[in-house]
Symmetry: C2
Subunit: 333 residues, 2 copies
């Protein structure tokens, strides 16, 4: 019951196995420099003691930390999906991941600071809203990859979905269904919002239609607000929402107002998040390839760290994919 048992060190394992510390280190790290016989003996000793290498000590000694810091928004489900891919990709490339959450009460600057203090040699910013200058300053200290936000810079890498193309797909899909009155509930100043607005405008113009944009945001609430104003002022034929969460808010208010989807109005989202696919939601959505995004971000970090600081910032763009479900339909049912 005593917690008197200090956690075992390399020395303890070495003593038990009757070898030197350095040799144990070699075996533990699986690097060349030990005979198979000793490997077995050392591993047995390590197992017996339940030895686990101490990360802090390791970090201190090595010049490289192989630590990727990820700053993300805990409340954003899309970020949670990306996290999974980042964990996977990092493991593949033998990096470790350190998380730091951002919220209303915990600013991105704070999240990044803790990441830096923890010796991360690269930082992954998910949907950061930080000013560009701040991100460039950061990039002077560590490698930075910005995920899901357009940002032209020679110093940071950007991995993102072609938001403009996604918006065009959404509009074209609706136009193809015969819709002519298509409203966009935008994402305000959110990441990718400007590009989606642009794509929407462009596709509408190309189809000879008039743009109508309602101010929105990243969460259900904004979609609901926009839908309420539509219910009051007249329902359009179709709504293209900034993202799935926003679309959910739209859907919900429509449903409650007795507006049928897709009978009276078609609704399309963005992200193709897990929610969109649920049977009862069944939301048509522009899908982002999270596996590609997460994978590319981590791979880019790896390249950048291997290459030193000579690399120019790259803009890696993933193509979105339209996932048609039941929330969009032919005009006039």
């Amino acid at each position: 019951m005593e917690v008197n048992s200090r956690r075992p060190t390399l020395q303890d394992v070495a003593d038990l196995a009757g070898v030197s510390r350095a040799l144990v280190s070699i075996v533990i790290r699986d690097v060349p420099g030990a005979s198979d016989a000793t490997r077995v003996r050392v591993k047995a000793a390590a197992d017996e003691l339940g030895y686990r290498p101490d990360n802090a000590a390791r970090l201190l000694r090595q010049h490289r930390s192989r630590l990727i810091g990820v700053s993300y928004v805990a409340a954003q489900t899309f970020h949670a999906e990306l996290l999974d891919e980042i964990y996977d990709a990092a493991e593949r490339l033998r990096y470790d991941v350190v998380l730091s959450a951002v919220s209303d009460r915990r600013p991105g600057s704070r999240a990044v600071r803790t990441l830096l203090d923890d010796r991360c040699e690269a930082i992954l910013l998910l949907g950061s809203q930080a000013p560009e200058s701040e991100i460039v300053d950061l990039a002077a200290k560590v490698s930075v990859v910005v995920l899901a936000r357009k940002m032209p810079s020679a110093h940071v890498d950007v991995v993102r979905t072609d938001d403009e193309a996604g918006a065009v797909m959404a509009v074209n899909h609706l136009v193809g269904l015969g819709h002519r009155s298509i409203v966009h509930v935008d994402g305000g100043r959110g990441p990718g919002a400007q590009e989606r607005r642009q794509g929407y405008r462009k596709a509408m113009r190309a189809a000879g239609l008039e743009s109508r944009i309602l101010p929105g945001g990243l969460t259900e609430e904004f979609g609901a607000d926009a839908a309420r104003s539509m219910v009051e002022q007249g329902i359009p034929g179709a709504v293209f929402a900034f993202n799935d969460r926003c679309a959910l808010g739209v859907l919900d208010v429509f449903l409650r107002a007795g507006v049928s989807v897709p009978g009276d109005v078609s609704v399309i989202g963005f992200d193709n998040s897990a929610l969109a696919g649920l049977a009862h939601i069944d939301l048509t959505s522009v899908g982002q390839d999270t596996a590609f995004l997460g994978g590319a971000a981590v791979e880019r970090i790896s390249e950048r760290l291997d290459a030193g600081s000579g690399l120019l910032g790259r803009d890696i763009v993933a193509q979105p994919q339209l996932v048609v479900r039941g929330s969009t339909g032919l005009v006039g049912r």
Copy 2:
């Protein structure tokens, strides 16, 4: 533009300020042992170099790490809300927080392992589904606090909401509105699910009503499935869902089926999450006091670490609070 500039160390600051490393350390940590004059000088030097203490080195040297590891489910919005409180409470008590996410693809055991490797001296398990024996084993190595899950054990602390009482509140509220046919969509094997079932049964029995439990789960999908089966087999007067996400699934399917809430059926959730409060959702819900839960969990960790290993596991129970909104109403409208 060169990244040739190694990050400054204590030594660099000491050189610039013309003092010893140890003295700089004292100033940086704000502990007694330096004159005000040198404090000012040292701080100026540190600022000039942009010095930030290296956590790994600090950790290595100190016997205590003041690191709290938090294992949580990234996709659970309720966990995101708790995280915020945990960050706050930890900062108050001068602890640092290390995050490790759990998902379908990343088991809790892996999350905990990385936390341990990172020298966390305590671990906070949010809604862990791990077998009790595993948690007890873990508690032999580090202090463990289990959040939002009942678990009788002499070795780990548990901080949770009184789920049974919450369920009783929900049922009594519905009974008070005149409902007699009240269905519970449960949480399966999820944390707290058993207690909420028990509370439901108890309150129903006390009201002389017959229990009817539909299998459910932690997410919208389960609620939707249950609602579909209700739509097919007959709508009850009221539904008490395991949590808000589950309730949302129920609501959505009802809406789509033309079942009016609360006109035809009242719906009540659990957690009082941010979603429940949205104007268009307006879900009556049993609220968990996240500030209390997060605060108590961190405080308990602090006590336990200060006290050594002599403390018995405590069961800290927060009282839930009913938040009445528009999704519940008098029977027969």
